[in-house]
Symmetry: D2
Subunit: 415 residues, 4 copies
């Protein structure tokens, strides 16, 4: 179980670090400031220039599509190898996209790669892999507990050669971006089928009549423009019959396949965020003085720093092991490990970002440090792709499985 | 030590609750929505209409200036009595202002009431008590640890009959509001005096030439327009010599007197926020189902609710006792109790709001519940008016005082 | 809601403090050492001499039976008043018994006082009130979840004029003491009655044939000799029909009445233990040096001390309010408050004792400080008289009650 | 960085598991019961028979001295490989000794192996490696902060060809066992030397005149007889000059070399204890019912189980990485990792044991489960070989090192 930096990935990791430091970081602030200029929901002018410029450079250096473990179209990396790269991307606001490794596209590309028809791949996977368009994934609905995927109410009915879709979804990340051209929409296609065979996933081009961005959902006070977490309504949206992925009733199966990697990538990047927060915290602790001493020497600050270091190391090792399980064992077994990191890691990153905020005082919640934004982004990870509570239930039940069997055997033996 | 609802306050408390429920709550959402219409930093039209209407009604019913414990100009309530009212105000975004009990005006009115000259009272206290103008308090500076008040660098020099002020302050809450007419600015007037006699507080009308709002500081992603937490620059700002409060070198003394009540009011309102968050949490827990059961019956949710109830009760009793100390003992002794609640209570309210967010899932961080805003507001309380760390130091040192004396006596006895 | 020290209790509190300091503390260590001399389960010689001497002195000064709020036979104190005294007793290992306020006798005396017949009172309550004998309460059984009182399996069958009792109980505190003369035993008398009417409580003299102390149960590695937490077996134990308290089927009702005061007294004494632990912690923090500084100045120790002070104050106020509820409102309402303190307070005292242990290093777990014993005693409070989990359930359900009614009303309105 | 079970260790691990299950476990209870028969400080009769029998069997199967990574006299295992075995030993009370891998002998053997002279090895290392004798390590002193090794006051003076030792030590684990034949005593030999060159380590046979076991120190209420944590006094204890290890002034250096492996072994075994506690907790959770449901389905128990699993996995991975660092990098760098696990792991194991106690109710603190003993043993790990606080300081300072250098460089650049 080698969890270290492989000889293969070591030089790539150095390249990625250097690219972030030398190419991305110098432009990042300008890019972010640009969002507030003019229409916040456009994506034009200087924004495009910066981002596409960086993407082209990265692609030219082969720093591209790391997430895709296939060696032909993707990077051929193991999940463990990718973890080291993803963590670095987590330290920057835009690095993941620069290397074409940003959610939700990565998950969507994986879906198309694994389950898409040749025609679907040609039309949508190719431009996504080339970084020419962006995409979104419409699953969560207002009004139902979306942690239980069988609840969804948006439905699609076959009418001749077309699916007719009606319903509402919200928190569709990325659907605000004008470059977003394609949606994968989770719909109910057969309410009478067994619980996990009622859903399907259908490709819906953003410009299909009847697709409507109602509003942007906030994340705390952020709207994340122009990316956006959109609330959409579908009114008699018609798409060709062939836009279904894998076929009717396969929606739940696809989402299971999609969420594993997505969750693990979130955790990898969360560790990057935690490292960055700890770095800021330490810089502040040694440079800021109160009562005649640097903050590092006051109260329990040294303990906070030590605990942060331990927590990051433990969270990283757990994430690497989950990645290793993903690469080496049955996906069902790996799923428990993904639930573990999905609970453990964001709680670690949130705590450290929060402690960094505290160390910075009022500046910590201001626009003068990236900490407030990091906090809000990390906090949503405890809700997105299944709240902590659901993942703990997965882990707890798995732990109890054998004990329950033994108990049942013993009880029936009693009878 | 009667910490209960006194016969005197009981009917007032009912009136306040009724006023909030019947008058304020129905208009609150509209008021908040109005902020995003047109120039977010103006305070006009429908906003003015709603708020001034409510203020007039409240004043007409005598629900006004509760915070001021003087019986002539204020309410004549004890701090314990006021606590029950302030908690109710903490459940609403605008109630405190409707009853003319909003920070930072309350603190500023107290300063003027206790330390102001007759002329200063006439000019600024009266319109403040009447709710005709608003005010701000400029203490925190960029670049120094403001938890240590002796650090400030903005300075005032006497030039003839005028103070000439130069420097920068930030996080000046309320200075963005066009109704804010007067600043109390903490300045250094004598760098050569003993550490706690170097500072003075000077009244600076907002329209004095040289006073400049550079920008609004964010609190997470909120700018809190039109109230605002402003970053100001003072360039050769000239005010009459008599604008100094109490006289040169008295600034630290005044700030000590000002912060006590301010901190206790924050805690009272924080408990209101915690109660409201718990209410939302409970409503969600019984109404939302997942896996066939209401959330209240899943996992550790019942424990979360129980712990929240206990924490609120403990936090409230501690706050009431601190209020009682404020009313009954030496301010120096009361100060330790204020440091206790200033640490304990916001940590309680933050935790409960955070748990309510978790119970709501994605909606918890959205604009569709007040929780995200509550979180951001509560989180700043761990930083404002002294971070947790400083207040814990006050409490810890006070606890150790007698032991240290005994230890010193014993050690010197050894020698 | 006066939670302060009343004028009536103030001088008594001083007397109790003085008595503990001047009379009890000087003999306490000798008393404890005496236990290991000879047969640890005897209670003779010097042990008797010390304890009976102290009891006589206390009784002579009227420092006696404080717990009984009746003014004729007891102290006539309110529960709030008693709380201040009980806290002091919690700082000493034997003070509670010296003032005839020790568990489980206090609970047993209350049962007899409230529910006993005249004959039962004459025979057992009088010598207990006089401190002439001790008693035990046999409820918990091996093999069933005793937090659910309806589970008990020890049963009593009426045979002519006698109850015949068979079964096993364990963790019967005090039944190891040779001075323990009477047991109150919870038994099942009617397995066919409704769930809460199946149980009865029967007085069983310790010397009744068939009553057998099987062994002492440990609390961690302590057997608490000679007091003991005994495991008993009842084999055809025969007692007169009239030994039943209040009558058949009233057992559950009695235990409800008994446990309220017992739990509140535990919490009061737990606060005394917490105060003592904090005192030891502070003494250590100022006197012990490492790396050239007193421990108080190292790492997060000052925060630990500050948090301990806040937690104790909050726990005490909550306990006083629960006591006040006990004195002033319906017992059903008070019960929720008792569940709150029963959960909150021992968790506070355990944490502080644990932190004091940590501050003392190896000495903290040794016999050279009282901390290890305090830890073990406090830790059992999270299990005794209902584990935390059950009390949290009580508090949580009470919190949700109105929300559930509203939800049900809303749901049925939907239909 | 392979942290998995190597092909080499996999079959050994199976052998060790089988040996514990089939040979040790069936005799363990009898062995422990035997301690209370007759003189608790003897080690004779049935105790000897059981333990020596098991040792002989284990040695015959080559399950012996795993801890020693040298391939000639020890096992030739890596520290990572040993970790998997040590964890298994941590689940049993006596397994470590059966495989000749018990503290404090392992540390003492390492000292002799690394630093002993040929004569010292012949006389003491050989019988220790053969499991013929036992040993103790006398470092901690009453009255000084032993986490700061420079504090020790026991001193040795050269008198002709002999060291004359005077002083007191306590918490000398294993010195109560009659089979303990040799002490390594940390002494001050040159009070005028630089701070870290004042100490030496000297071999003192237990039967040397002047060596006196004053008493057994308790760990909570346990005396751990016959092993014992002894308080010893040395009165003019004379040993040959050559009994010094490595030479005068090398004591601190030796203790640094000794403590690394000792700490890592403690953590490995602590994980075994945590796993065993979680197993007991789960068995209880599925088999015990309250309110009609197994405990596993009540309240937050499933979350407790899930969190325990995550914490164990994280703690284990961190321990394995620390072991890997020990095997592969500079000891100075590895030391930080050891401080990390020394803090993180016992806190995890303590928490899980405590939660298991809670799940068992009163039985959890009784002698009928091993949990109370496990709790007391695990709790001492937060104190032994350096308290958490000292290890956090090591980790925190290491984290800050580069930031402080950068800060100093920047500051001096300012000047």
């Amino acid at each position: 179980m080698d969890l270290g930096i492989s000889p293969k990935i070591a030089p790539v990791l150095e390249q990625v670090k250097a690219f972030i430091a030398n190419e991305i970081t110098p432009l990042e602030e300008e890019f972010l400031a640009e969002i507030d200029v003019g229409d916040r929901w456009s994506f034009t002018g200087r924004q495009t220039e910066i981002l596409e410029g960086l993407k082209n450079k990265a692609k030219a250096q082969g720093l591209w599509n790391f997430f895709l473990t296939d060696g032909e179209q993707g990077s051929g990396l193991t999940t463990v190898e990718y973890a080291y790269l993803a963590e670095e991307m987590g330290k920057s606001h835009i690095a993941a996209e620069v290397f074409n490794c940003a959610a939700p596209d990565t998950g969507n590309m994986e879906v198309l790669y694994k389950y898409g028809s040749e025609a679907q791949k040609k039309q949508w996977l190719e431009p996504l892999l080339n970084g020419e368009i962006r995409s979104a994934y419409a699953m969560t609905e207002p009004g139902v507990a979306s942690s239980d995927a069988t609840n969804i109410s948006t439905h699609a009915v076959l009418d001749g050669d077309e699916w007719v879709i009606n319903g509402e979804k919200h928190y569709i990340s990325g659907a605000g971006d004008p470059r977003c051209k394609i949606l994968i929409v989770m719909v109910k296609t057969d309410p009478d089928a067994p619980k996990h065979l009622q859903q399907s996933q259908i490709l819906v081009p953003m410009d299909t009549p009847g697709v409507e961005n109602l509003r942007a959902m906030n994340v705390f006070a952020m709207d994340d423009a122009p990316h956006g977490h959109m609330h959409q309504r579908y009114t008699n949206v018609r798409v060709p019959k062939d836009n279904i992925i894998l076929g009717p009733g396969r929606g739940f199966e696809i989402s299971q396949g999609r969420l594993g990697p997505g969750r693990i990538h979130h955790c990898m990047r969360a560790l990057g965020a935690a490292e960055r927060a700890l770095q800021l915290l330490c810089e502040r602790a040694v440079s800021r003085k109160a009562f005649g001493k640097p903050l590092a020497q006051l109260g329990g600050n040294i303990d906070i720093i030590a605990n942060a270091r331990m927590d990051i190391e433990m969270g990283r090792l757990l994430t690497l092991k989950a990645a290793w399980m993903m690469d080496n064992v049955d996906p069902k077994e790996a799923r428990v490990w993904i639930s573990m990191i999905k609970t453990a890691v964001p709680n670690i990153s949130i705590r450290i970002v929060d402690q960094a905020i505290q160390m910075f005082g009022a500046l910590g919640v201001s626009q003068d440090t990236p900490l407030a934004n990091m906090y809000m982004a990390q906090r949503t990870l405890r809700l997105a792709d299944g709240p902590d509570e659901v993942h703990r239930m997965v882990v707890g039940r798995n732990e109890l499985r054998d004990y329950m069997k033994a108990q049942q055997a013993a009880s029936s033996g009693d009878a």
